[in-house]
C-alpha cells in the first residue's frame, strides 16, 4: 500500500525557517510589501484580492490567486466573448455536459457518450519542444480522463515558422518526437491533425493537442467536492519544482520576459505514469469509489483544490504537509503552484478510502489523503499546523473579468484592397502543371508521412481511418460497428483577412472533413490561438472569431462543447495570424460504411460537388506561389455545407461511394492529386470551366466523390434530392493525373514531388 494518512508529518525541512506567512501573520502585517507584480497580478487585481479577504493575502494565497487569475486559468480577457458560445437548446440536444466542465460530453447513442477537447501547449513547446509537446498531450488526456471516460485517441494540430528556417529545424522535430513519445507510450492512437507553416509562427509555434474519450452514459464524473467528511486524495506523481510560476509566466507573458527574467524549470512528462494513472482511475470509477475528480494541469494543486471546492457546495480543508514531494525543500506557495505532471485529485467517501488506496497500490500509483470536504464554504490549507490559506474558493476559481478595448486592425482596409486578382496567372497547360507540382511539393501541402509515421495509429485495434484521410475514424462498438469521426482545421490566412468568416471556414472545413468519411457531424471543440489581449486589434480578432464560431455552429445546428484560449502568441509586438483551430466530432452508425479518400478502384465516375467561384484571397496558390496575402477569403456557405454533409452521409449509409475527398487548400487540383496518390491510381478529368479557377480556387462547401461503378445514377438522384450541385468531371484509372486539355502528370512524378519535401527538410 502506498498511501499515507492525512496529517502524517513528513519530516518538514526547515525551508521556511520558522517564518511561515500564516493567515494570522498576514492579518497582523497589513503593510508588508508583496511581489504581486512579479507573480503577474496587476495592482488592481492585488487590491481586489485584499478586498475579498479583508486583509493582505499570505504568500501562499498570493501564489494561489496569481495562478488562478492568470489569463491561462481565468480566461479573464476572453470570458465575456466566450459566453456567445453557449449553445441554443436546439443545438444542445445530445449534450450531457457542456462548456464549463473539463471537457464537453456528447451522447452518441446505444448508451455511449463521447468527450473530446483540444488544448494548446504553444509556449512550453517553443522553450523545450520535446517535453513541451509531450506534456501537452499528457494534459489534455487527463482532462478527458477526469470526465469519467477512457481516452481512446489523440490528434495534433501543429503550426511552425517557415519550413526551412533554422529554428523550425529545432522546434518541429522536437515537437513531433514529443507527441510521438508521449502518445505512443500511453497507447493512444494518433488519428489525425494538421501541419502548416507560416512566417507568423516563427517565434511562436502552435502546438494544439486533442484527446477523445468514450464512456457509458452513467459513467460521467464531475469536478466537485461534495459531502462534508469526504476525503480528498492526491494521486499520481510526486510534486516537484516543475514549471513553478509556469502558469503565470509561461502561459501569460511574452517570451522576452520569460527568458530574460524568470525562465521556469521545464516540466518533464512521464507517459508510463500517465498510463498507470489512466488504468487506475478507470478501475476506481468502475468500483464506484469516486465522488468527484479533477485533473492537475496548469496551476496544479492550487487549481484542483479551488475548482473542486468551488464546484461543491461546502468547503475543503487541506494539509499541504501531506502532499508527497519529490523535492523536500518546497514550501507551501511552491507546492500550490507546481505543475508536476501526471497527478489527479479525487474526492472519496471515508469508507471507500481503503479500497481506493488498494487499487492505487495495485497500479503502483502513490496516493495520499491530503484533506477533507467541510461544510463551512471555505478553502483552508495548513502547513506545519498553521493556517496558510483561508479563502472563499469561488473568488479564486471565477477570477476577474476584463472588458478589454477592441479595435479593428488599422491595416484591415489595406489588406482587403490587396486583391489576388492582380497576380499573374499561369497561362497554358505547362504553367498550370508546374504550379500544381510546386504546390504539392511545398511543405504545407506535401505528404506528411515524415511526421505521421512517428505516431502509432494502430494501437487499440479500433482505428478505421487515420492519416492521410480527411478525418480519423474509430470503431467504438465491435458488435454494432458504432463509430466516431474527428477532424481539426484552422486557416490563419483566412482568419487574418477576416476572423469572422475565417473561423466559419475553419469550422466548415472540419465539418466537411468529418462528413466526407460518411459521418454525421454532431459537436464542436475549439482552441483560439491569438496574440496579446492587450492589443485592441487582437481583441477584435478574438471577438470576431467567437462571433463567427457561434453563428456558424447555430447555422449548422451543432453545439460547441468546450475548448481553450491561448493568448500572447506573439513575437515582440507582432501577433500571429488569429488561428482558431476547430475540432468537429461526427458519428457513424456503422464504421463498415466509412468512405476513404483515395481512388481505390478503376472506372469510377468522379463527381465534383458544390459550386466553384474565382476565390483566391488567402488561397494556397496565392501564398505558396506569390507570397501573397490579401483580398477577401472565400465566402462561407454553411447551408451548402449542411446539404453536402447530409448527401454524403446518406450516400455512405446506402453504400454508394467508393471514395470522397473534401476540397480545401489548393482546390480541386490538389484534391485530385491526393486521391490519386492515396488510392494508388490515376484519373482522367475534364474541367467544366476556366481551368485556373477550377484547378486552384478554394471555394467552400465542395468535395469530389466517386460513386461505385454502376451506382452513379443513384448517387446523382441523391445529389438532386439534397440540393447539392454535382457535375461528372472524370473517371478513375490509369497511372497519371490527366486533366484534359491542360496537362498530364505520371503518378511517379506526382508522388516524388509530394513525398520528398519533408524528408529533405528534416532528415
Amino acid at each position: 500500500m502506498t498511501g499515507t494518512s492525512e496529517g502524517e508529518e513528513s519530516a518538514p525541512e526547515a525551508s521556511e525557517m520558522g517564518c511561515t506567512d500564516t493567515v494570522e501573520v498576514a492579518a497582523g502585517t497589513p503593510d508588508q510589501p508583496q511581489p504581486y507584480a512579479e507573480l503577474g497580478l496587476t495592482a488592481g487585481e492585488y487590491r481586489k484580492v485584499r478586498e475579498v479577504l479583508g486583509r493582505r493575502p499570505t504568500a501562499a494565497e498570493l501564489a494561489l490567486y496569481s495562478v488562478m487569475w492568470s489569463e491561462h486559468c481565468s480566461y479573464k480577457s476572453s470570458r465575456v466573448h466566450l459566453r456567445k458560445l453557449a449553445p441554443a437548446p436546439a443545438q444542445s440536444g445530445a449534450l450531457l455536459a457542456g462548456i464549463g466542465s473539463n471537457a464537453g460530453v456528447v451522447d452518441i447513442g446505444q448508451g455511449y457518450a463521447v468527450t473530446f477537447k483540444i488544448e494548446s501547449h504553444n509556449h512550453p513547446s517553443f522553450v523545450e519542444p520535446h517535453q513541451g509537446a509531450a506534456t501537452g498531450v499528457g494534459g489534455i488526456v487527463r482532462d478527458i480522463l477526469a470526465m469519467g471516460a477512457r481516452p481512446v485517441a489523440v490528434m495534433d494540430a501543429l503550426r511552425f515558422g517557415p519550413a526551412d528556417a533554422p529554428d523550425t529545424g529545432r522546434v518541429l522535430p522536437g515537437v513531433v518526437s514529443g507527441i510521438s513519445f508521449y502518445g505512443n507510450c500511453l497507447g493512444l492512437p494518433n488519428i489525425g491533425g494538421e501541419l502548416a507553416f507560416d512566417p507568423c509562427y516563427a517565434g511562436n509555434p502552435l502546438v494544439n493537442a486533442l484527446c477523445v474519450g468514450v464512456m457509458r452514459h452513467g459513467d460521467l464524473k464531475a469536478a466537485v467536492a461534495r459531502g462534508a467528511g469526504n476525503k480528498v486524495i492526491l494521486f499520481g506523481s510526486r510534486t516537484g519544482p516543475d514549471g513553478i510560476g509556469g502558469a503565470s509566466v509561461l502561459a501569460s507573458a511574452t517570451f522576452e520576459e520569460a527568458s530574460a527574467a524568470k525562465r521556469p524549470s521545464v516540466q518533464v512528462g512521464d507517459p508510463f505514469m500517465e498510463k498507470l494513472l489512466v488504468e487506475c482511475c478507470l478501475e476506481l470509477y468502475a468500483a464506484g469509489l469516486v465522488e468527484g475528480i479533477q485533473d492537475l494541469g496548469a496551476a496544479g494543486v492550487a487549481c484542483a483544490t479551488t475548482e473542486l471546492a468551488a464546484g461543491g457546495s461546502g468547503g475543503m480543508r487541506v494539509s499541504l504537509d501531506a502532499v508527497p514531494l519529490r523535492d523536500p525543500s518546497l514550501g507551501p506557495a511552491e507546492i500550490l503552484m507546481s505543475e508536476s505532471q501526471e497527478r489527479m485529485m479525487a474526492v472519496a467517501a471515508p469508507a471507500s478510502v481503503p479500497a481506493f488506496l488498494e487499487i492505487c497500490g495495485k497500479w503502483d500509483v502513490e496516493a495520499t489523503v491530503i484533506g477533507e470536504v467541510t461544510g463551512d464554504g471555505r478553502l483552508t490549507m495548513t502547513w506545519h499546523g498553521e493556517t496558510v490559506v483561508d479563502i472563499p474558493p469561488g473568488t479564486a476559481a471565477d477570477g476577474p473579468v476584463c472588458r478589454r478595448p477592441i479595435a479593428r486592425p488599422a491595416d484591415a482596409g489595406a489588406l482587403a484592397a490587396r486583391d489576388p486578382a492582380a497576380l499573374p496567372r499561369p497561362a497554358g497547360g505547362a504553367a498550370l502543371r508546374a504550379d500544381l507540382l510546386a504546390m504539392l511539393g511545398s511543405a504545407d501541402l506535401a505528404d506528411k508521412t515524415w511526421v505521421t509515421e512517428q505516431y502509432d495509429r494502430y494501437v487499440g485495434g479500433n482505428t478505421v481511418l487515420a492519416m492521410p484521410e480527411d478525418g480519423g475514424v474509430l470503431r467504438i462498438d465491435e458488435q454494432t460497428g458504432l463509430g466516431i469521426a474527428l477532424a481539426t482545421d484552422g486557416n490563419g490566412r483566412f482568419c487574418r483577412l477576416d476572423p469572422y468568416q475565417g473561423t466559419q471556414l475553419a469550422l466548415s472545413e472540419a465539418y466537411r472533413n468529418v462528413a466526407v468519411t460518411g459521418a454525421r457531424p454532431v459537436a464542436v471543440t475549439n482552441c483560439l490561438n491569438l496574440g496579446s489581449p492587450e492589443d485592441p486589434a487582437v481583441m477584435w480578432q478574438l471577438a470576431e472569431a467567437v462571433r463567427g464560431l457561434a453563428d456558424g455552429c447555430a447555422a449548422l445546428s451543432i453545439p460547441v462543447t468546450g475548448g481553450n484560449v491561448s493568448l500572447y502568441n506573439q513575437t515582440g509586438t507582432t501577433a500571429i495570424h488569429p488561428t482558431p483551430v476547430i475540432g468537429v466530432l461526427g458519428v457513424l452508425a456503422d464504421v463498415r460504411r466509412r468512405v476513404p479518400s483515395g481512388f481505390a478502384a478503376d472506372g469510377a465516375d468522379i463527381m465534383l460537388l458544390g459550386r466553384t467561384r474565382p476565390e483566391f484571397g488567402g488561397s494556397a496558390w496565392a501564398h505558396l506561389l506569390h507570397g501573397h496575402l490579401g483580398g477577401r477569403p472565400p465566402e462561407p456557405d454553411l447551408d451548402a455545407e449542411r446539404r453536402l454533409a447530409g448527401l454524403i452521409a446518406a450516400a455512405a449509409a446506402a453504400g454508394l461511394l467508393c471514395a470522397a475527398h473534401d476540397l480545401s487548400d489548393g482546390g480541386l487540383a490538389v484534391a485530385l492529386a491526393e486521391s490519386c496518390l492515396s488510392g494508388g491510381r490515376g484519373c482522367r478529368a475534364e474541367l467544366p470551366g476556366e481551368a485556373f479557377t477550377y484547378l486552384f480556387a478554394e471555394s467552400a462547401a465542395r468535395a469530389v466523390a466517386a460513386p461505385r461503378p454502376g451506382l452513379a445514377g443513384e448517387f446523382r438522384s441523391l445529389c438532386d434530392e439534397h440540393g447539392v450541385p454535382a457535375e461528372r468531371i472524370g473517371v478513375t484509372g490509369g497511372d497519371s493525373l490527366d486533366i484534359g486539355g491542360c496537362f498530364s502528370i505520371p503518378l511517379a512524378e506526382l508522388s516524388a514531388a509530394h513525398t520528398r519535401t519533408l524528408p529533405a527538410l528534416f532528415g
Partner: protein, 225 residues
C-alpha cells in the same frame, strides 16, 4: 483452447492481442504481471507496448516480473510463447531468444505497413502459413533493429530460425533483414511487426496476421480432436 495474454504495467496491445485470439477462435485469458500464475493456459502472448515505460531498455524491467519466473521454465518445457514487439524484446532480455533489439537506424519511431516473408512454417505460430508466403503487417517501434553477433546470426540462418524477414529491406536497420526469430524448438517466437493489427481489412492493412493466432489455435484444435 485458452491463450494467455500478459499485461505488464505499460502494456498497450494486450486488448488487441486478445481480440486476435478471439478472431482465431480461441479463448483469451488475462494474465497479470504480478501473479506467479499462468492459469493453466495452452499458450502465452507477450503483447506490444512499453512495459515499465521502457525507459531503461525495452523489456529490461519486465523480464523480472513474477509472471516471467513462471513463464521462462514453462517456455523451456515447450509452452508456445509469442512475443510481439515489446514482447519480443522481453523474450530477448529473458534469454529465451538470442540477440537484442536496438534503436532504429533512423533514430525515429516508425509506424509502417511492411511486407514480410514467412521463412519458417514449422513453428507453433506460423504453421498455418505457406513457405515463402508474403504478409503485409504493421511495424511500429522505435527500438526494433534486431542485433546479434555474427556467430549467432549465422546459426539462426543455418538452423532455419529466422521466422519472418522484411521482404523489401528492413526499415529499421535490423541485421540481415530479420523481423522475427524462434527458439530452438519453435515454440517460442518473437517478432517486431504486429500481426494482431492485421486481422481484418477494417482496422488494419490486411487480414494477413490472423495466421499467427490461427496457427497455434489450429494446432490445439487438431491435438484435441
Amino acid at each position: 483452447m485458452r491463450i494467455g495474454v500478459v499485461t505488464f504495467p505499460g502494456s498497450l496491445d494486450d486488448q488487441d492481442a486478445a481480440r486476435a485470439v478471439r478472431y482465431a477462435g480461441a479463448r483469451p485469458v488475462k494474465l497479470w504481471h504480478a501473479d506467479r500464475d499462468l492459469r493453466g493456459v495452452d499458450a502465452v502472448i507477450l503483447p506490444g507496448g512499453f512495459s515499465y515505460g521502457d525507459y531503461l531498455r525495452c523489456g529490461a524491467i519486465a523480464r523480472f516480473s513474477p509472471v516471467m519466473s513462471e513463464l521462462v521454465p514453462a517456455a523451456r518445457a515447450g509452452l508456445p510463447v509469442l512475443g510481439i514487439c515489446n514482447g519480443f524484446q522481453i523474450l530477448c532480455e529473458a534469454h529465451l531468444l538470442p540477440g537484442a533489439l536496438t534503436r532504429n537506424a533512423g533514430l525515429r519511431f516508425i509506424t509502417r505497413d511492411v511486407r514480410l516473408t514467412v521463412e519458417n512454417t514449422r513453428t507453433a505460430w506460423t504453421r498455418g502459413y505457406g513457405a515463402g508466403q508474403e504478409l503485409t503487417i504493421p511495424l511500429k517501434s522505435g527500438e526494433g533493429a534486431y542485433t546479434a553477433d555474427e556467430a549467432t546470426l549465422d546459426e539462426l540462418e543455418a538452423t532455419g530460425r529466422v521466422v519472418v524477414r522484411y521482404a523489401a529491406g528492413a526499415p529499421n536497420g535490423a541485421a540481415r533483414g530479420i523481423a522475427g526469430i524462434c527458439g530452438e524448438t519453435g515454440g517460442v517466437v518473437g517478432l517486431m511487426p504486429h500481426p494482431e493489427h492485421a486481422i481484418e481489412a477494417l482496422t488494419g492493412p490486411s487480414g494477413d496476421g490472423l495466421g499467427f493466432f490461427a496457427s497455434v489455435a489450429g494446432a490445439f484444435a487438431k491435438a484435441a480432436s
